[in-house]
């Protein structure tokens, strides 16, 4: 089973500050699986701090990892209890499913017990117009999983 809910969201969103203004910019947000849509405010979030020298958003010079949603520039925590670890390559969080479905589940595609099942939560609405999260089989942990320092994948995106 996934890890407990709880503190997660405030941790996750603490730095993804919501805008106080209600001037809309006309963008309609329709999250996957949601029966409702809303209009985006003109200033949807806190812009990313200036990038470190030699790097762009989502990267650093090899020091402490910084996680940023590419499209919006919003800085987000790299880990939360409920969502898991942020993967800068797709702006999704990955959480290992402790109690995965049985090996006969189609999700495994006959590969059980190789690899693991992760719960994937994607957080950029325009980068994830449909359901592209959920339980996902991976042969090994994704980029950024468990990382507190800049990952090889993030370094590879620089330049």
């Amino acid at each position: 089973m996934l890890s407990r809910a709880g503190l997660a969201l405030t941790l996750i969103l603490g730095s993804a500050t919501a805008a106080a203004a209600t001037t809309t910019d006309g963008t309609v947000i329709c999250p996957p699986g949601s029966p409702f849509c809303w209009v985006e405010v003109a200033d949807p979030g806190q812009p990313a701090p200036p990038p470190p020298v030699g790097g762009g958003p989502g990267t650093s010079t090899g020091g402490t990892r910084q996680c940023v949603i590419d499209r919006t520039g919003v800085v987000v925590p790299c880990h939360s209890e409920s969502f898991g670890w942020f993967n800068s390559t797709d702006d999704c969080y990955y959480q290992l499913v402790d109690q995965p479905p049985p090996g006969g589940d189609p999700l495994w595609e006959g590969r059980y017990p190789d690899g693991d099942i992760y719960a994937v939560t994607c957080v950029d609405p325009l980068n994830a117009p449909g359901t592209n999260g959920g339980w996902t089989w991976l042969p090994s942990p994704p980029d950024g999983y468990g990382a507190t320092e800049t990952t090889p994948g993030e370094l590879g995106r620089v330049g």
Binding site: R4, A5, T22, I29, G33, S82, T121
Partner: protein, 193 residues
């Protein structure tokens, strides 16, 4: 919490039968009330209700309870996205049903949006398959009339224009880790019900 209502397919069927009977009594060909007094009986008439496998009936009740819990958890979580999500969300939902709700919660917080009120539900369960990896289908018509997005800063409506207020949804239930859960929930925003 929510004003959502539950309805099983059996109660729904009963309602349809009742409605059909009512309609039949109102047709133009209806000769009207007869002069024959209704037959009085002294013993109860055997119930015409079709027999239902008790295990299926039990599973159906459990699935409806879980489905309601899943929606209640979403309503609670979306009411204030700045707070930790309702722990029941992970209890009742798995796979995309869970991660889609979490994605929505995250995006709402980023947009400074919250949901006020509660939806009205009309779930119907079918295709129940029992077993260690049991499954079932749930179709619903989610009524959003009293569950709308607002900007938390001002309370003004954040609803996108021209949205349907009654949205068909198709969900799947999955028997997982010794309990029923909601595994997927797909909405059809481009149509109505």
């Amino acid at each position: 919490m929510t004003t959502s209502k539950r309805r099983s397919r059996w109660s729904g069927a009963a309602a349809c039968i009742a409605a059909a009977s009512l309609l039949a009594a109102c047709t133009p060909d209806d000769p009207g009330p007869t002069t024959t007094p209704p037959t009085q009986t002294t013993s109860p008439t055997p119930s015409p209700t079709p027999s239902v496998d008790p295990a299926i009936a039990e599973a159906e009740a459990a699935i409806l309870e879980v489905y309601q819990g899943y929606w209640d958890a979403k309503v609670a979580s979306f009411a204030d996205p700045t707070q930790p999500q309702d722990p029941n969300l992970e209890r009742f939902a798995v796979d995309t049903a869970l991660t889609d709700a979490q994605s929505t919660l995250f995006m709402m917080q980023q947009s400074g949006v919250a949901m006020v009120g509660a939806p009205s539900l009309s779930p119907v369960v079918s295709d129940i398959a029992l077993g260690d990896t049991g499954t079932a289908s749930i179709v619903d018509c989610v009524d959003l009339t009293n569950w709308q997005p607002v900007f938390t800063a001002t309370g003004d409506s954040a609803a996108a224009p021209d949205q349907t207020l009654r949205v068909p949804t198709e969900s799947t239930a999955y028997f997982y880790d010794g309990r029923w859960t909601v595994r997927t929930s797909v909405v059809h925003r481009d149509t109505t019900c």
